[in-house]
């Protein structure tokens, strides 16, 4: 009995020791890896699940994606915890650039936003071609609207659209405007649960499994286009940045093969991302 | 167990000892000497300080006043003394495990542990209960085990605090027999009891305590035949000493 107890104790200690070592060795492994800070909407769209194996094949680089809100992603890059940042908030990206956190911004692709709402459509905006009219109608009706409220690219785009609609959202918002401080999926969940309006990127919407009574009500307005930019974190700011691998990643994205791969990504037969690395205005 | 003549802690001398706990004076100006020989029995009402005196004689308590010496030494590690508490704590092991622990703590050689454990179990009548978890022994069995643990230390002086308090008459007799046989091997027994009958049966010397002070002490024969003090007379007559 005693020896059995001793044996099992040694076994446990050995197993745990092995586990600790394997965990530690993960950290020490010297693969070709980079850390890319990107957004939850991009992750939720499934683009990375599709693209990362392709990148590994083409460049041999293992890409580790940290998916956060745009604000948090840029913050992670500022702290030097990422090598590359890929987000969709042009004004924030330019601020990042001018602060010297990166040396160059490359446009990559765009997707679009859609205005989602309940089938019952209390604000009566279904089929409208202009996003500003839709938002004005929602404000007038005081219909429940879910905002991500997390400084993400989507959130900043949403705020911009309210401005375009001439609605001072800080003034006008009442309890019908709910800022949840979370990602796109959570916002869609909240909208689904409370039959509310929400602005979402098309990619996440198509991928979303919990649609409930929600439908796409307004789409196609060019003001709903969502531009992505990719930047290498400045190696001058942070000496630990893997600049060669990071640049290789960027070079792939903007290369003809990379752009073609991006355009080939489909969910339910719909193309989600439109490559535009060569567009000087992007 | 061998006969002890040399290397003991006797005499144990209390010199105006005072012990205070939580602001209350438990022992007050106690001066006593414990010499080798027949058992010394402490008697007195509950709360008179018997337990405290035993613990102090064992060397477990800090003194507020006075001093205690063991064979002339003031500081003495309890290597040759052992105590059996009134409410013994059982280690979370088997009965035999408890005794083995006490033996090992007293420096017994590994090769000897089995043999001496069996010896001690048999001595206190627990030979059939060696494998049982000690905490599942009855009150009386636990007290006997506690005695075995104390004896495991091969003491020259053995303190017993109410050793038969929770035992039935048969078990009481068994323990008293053990005490007599221990005493016969020249181990000094100092025990506390509130059972006057037991005191009469076992004592060579008696100390009567009341409210932390020694009322009377001396040979048991003389004490029981002709107590000198008022309190002693009243106590022996069965009155409550307040």
């Amino acid at each position: 009995m005693q020896s059995l107890k001793t044996l099992s104790r040694y076994l446990m200690a050995f197993t745990l020791g092995a586990m600790v070592l394997s965990v530690a060795s993960c950290a020490a492994k010297n693969e070709k890896t980079i850390v890319v800070a990107s957004t939850t909407s991009t992750q939720d769209s499934g683009l990375f699940d599709y693209l990362l194996p392709i990148i590994k094949e083409r460049t041999g680089i293992t890409v580790k994606v940290i998916a956060q809100g745009t604000g948090q992603a840029l913050d992670t890059a500022r702290r030097g915890d990422a090598d590359v940042v890929l987000v969709h908030a042009r004004s924030e990206e330019l601020k990042f650039l001018s602060a010297g956190e990166s040396l160059k911004r490359y446009p990559v692709m765009y997707n679009d936003f859609v205005l989602i709402g309940p089938k019952s459509d209390p604000a009566g905006i279904a089929g409208l071609k202009k996003i500003d009219q839709a938002l004005q109608a929602i404000t007038a009706k005081g219909a429940t609207f879910i905002s991500r409220g997390d400084r993400s690219g989507t959130h900043l785009a949403e705020l911009n659209l309210w401005k375009t609609a001439g609605v001072d959202i800080d003034q006008a918002k009442g309890h019908w405007y709910q800022s949840i401080g979370q990602g796109m999926g959570a916002a869609l969940n909240a909208a689904s649960a409370s039959n509310a309006y929400v602005l979402s990127d098309r990619a996440t919407w198509i991928h979303f499994k919990n649609k409930g009574e929600l439908r796409v009500l307004v789409e196609g307005d060019t003001r709903l286009f969502n531009q992505y930019g990719v930047m290498l974190v400045s190696p001058e700011r942070h000496s630990n940045v893997k600049k060669v691998l990071g640049q290789a990643f960027i070079d792939y994205l903007i290369s003809p093969e990379g752009q073609a791969d991006i355009s080939r990504y489909r969910v339910e037969d719909q193309q989600l991302f439109y490559p535009d690395a060569n567009d000087p205005n992007a | 167990m061998s006969v002890r003549m040399l290397e003991s802690d006797l005499p144990i001398c209390f010199s105006q000892v005072g012990i205070v706990s939580g602001g209350v004076t438990i022992l007050n100006d106690v001066s006593l000497t414990f010499l080798g020989g027949a058992p010394t029995v402490l008697i007195g009402p509950n709360g008179s300080g018997k337990t405290t005196l035993l613990k102090a004689a064992m060397g477990l308590l800090p003194l507020a006043r006075g001093r205690i010496t063991w064979a002339g030494q003031e500081v003495s590690a309890p290597a040759r003394r052992a105590i059996m508490f009134q409410h013994p704590a059982m280690l979370r092991r088997s009965a035999a495990g408890n005794i083995r622990y006490a033996l090992s703590a007293a420096g017994a050689v590994r090769a000897e542990l089995e043999r001496r454990t069996d010896e001690l179990l048999t001595l206190v009548g627990l030979e059939s209960l060696g494998a049982r978890p000690a905490r599942r022994l009855s009150g009386g069995e636990q007290q006997r085990l506690s005695l075995a643990r104390a004896l495991a230390r091969d003491p020259a002086v053995l303190f017993l605090d109410e050793p038969t308090a929770s035992l039935d008459p048969a078990a009481t007799k068994a323990i008293e027999d053990v005490v007599r046989s221990i005493s016969a091997r020249s181990i000094k027994v100092i025990m506390a009891t509130h059972d006057l009958g037991e005191a009469r049966r076992l004592a060579g010397e008696v100390v009567l305590l009341h409210r932390g002070a020694v009322i009377e002490s001396g040979s048991a024969e003389r004490f029981f035949a002709a107590p000198a003090t008022e309190e002693a007379k009243r106590f022996l007559a069965g009155e409550l000493l307040i």
Binding site: V23, L52, K64, D81 | R153
Partner: protein, 230 residues
């Protein structure tokens, strides 16, 4: 991991991606609990058995830290391990090791506080006897820990349960990177936010099963204690 396949199918067919996630979760939480025990048991015993100035406040703080919010622990470790932080040069952020560190921070107070309580209670019981047997301080500690081993095991299981169930700390320091730092709890958070509820529920069932298993082990430990040691 395929998403149109039902979660139950994944569990039953032993989908390798799911398996990898479960293995990572267990590795991280077990390692953290192990290290937390190495620190917490001696620490708790020390506090239980020694008298020092400020002992009471230390015990109060230690007990309070049992309820340390995981996100707070995660944030603190994140700030330490970030490249801009004091330990940045080790480059540990967004690795499983960072997750182990964060969970160790969470679990150590639990084990230390429960150890302290257990050892102190047992010490009160054993003190006179051990003193009477002239047992030295080092041996006292070993005896107390050994005799209390089943209660201490329960403390370890409580710590493990806490680690296995939390998401706030590891999602901040680990980054929930697919294939590297994605665990059961972070996967559930992710799949839920994607609206992929069947998969999230499937993972949840696996996680709860593990928690129940841990609870059963704790119960078994108590029963073993009763049988072997009374």
């Amino acid at each position: 991991m395929q998403e149109n396949v039902s979660a139950l199918q994944l569990v039953l067919t032993g989908d390798p991606a799911l398996f990898a996630i479960v293995r990572l979760s267990l590795t991280v939480s077990l390692s953290a609990t192990f290290i937390a025990a190495l620190i917490g048991v001696p620490l708790g015993s020390l506090i239980a058995l020694t008298r020092f100035r400020g002992r009471e406040p230390v015990i109060v703080v230690l007990n309070a830290l049992m309820g340390l919010p995981p996100v707070v622990a995660g944030l603190a470790v994140y700030l330490m391990l970030s490249r801009s932080g004091p330990l940045g040069r080790w480059g540990l952020l967004f690795t499983p090791l960072a997750m182990v560190v964060a969970q160790t921070v969470l679990v150590t107070p639990i084990i230390a506080a429960l150890t302290r309580q257990t050892i102190e209670d047992l010490w009160l019981e054993y003190r006179d006897e051990l003193a009477a047997m002239n047992v030295g301080p080092l041996r006292r500690v070993r005896t107390l820990i050994w005799d209390a081993r089943f209660s201490l095991l329960t403390a370890l299981l409580a710590g493990f349960g806490r680690a296995a169930a939390e998401v706030g700390a590891i999602i901040i320091v680990g980054g929930n990177i697919q294939g590297f730092t994605r665990t059961m709890t972070t996967s559930i958070a992710l799949e839920t936010s994607k609206g992929n509820l069947p998969l999230a529920i499937g993972l949840g069932i696996v996680l709860v099963s593990i928690v129940i298993l841990v609870s059963a082990l704790a119960w078994g430990a108590r029963r073993a204690a009763e049988r072997f040691a009374g």
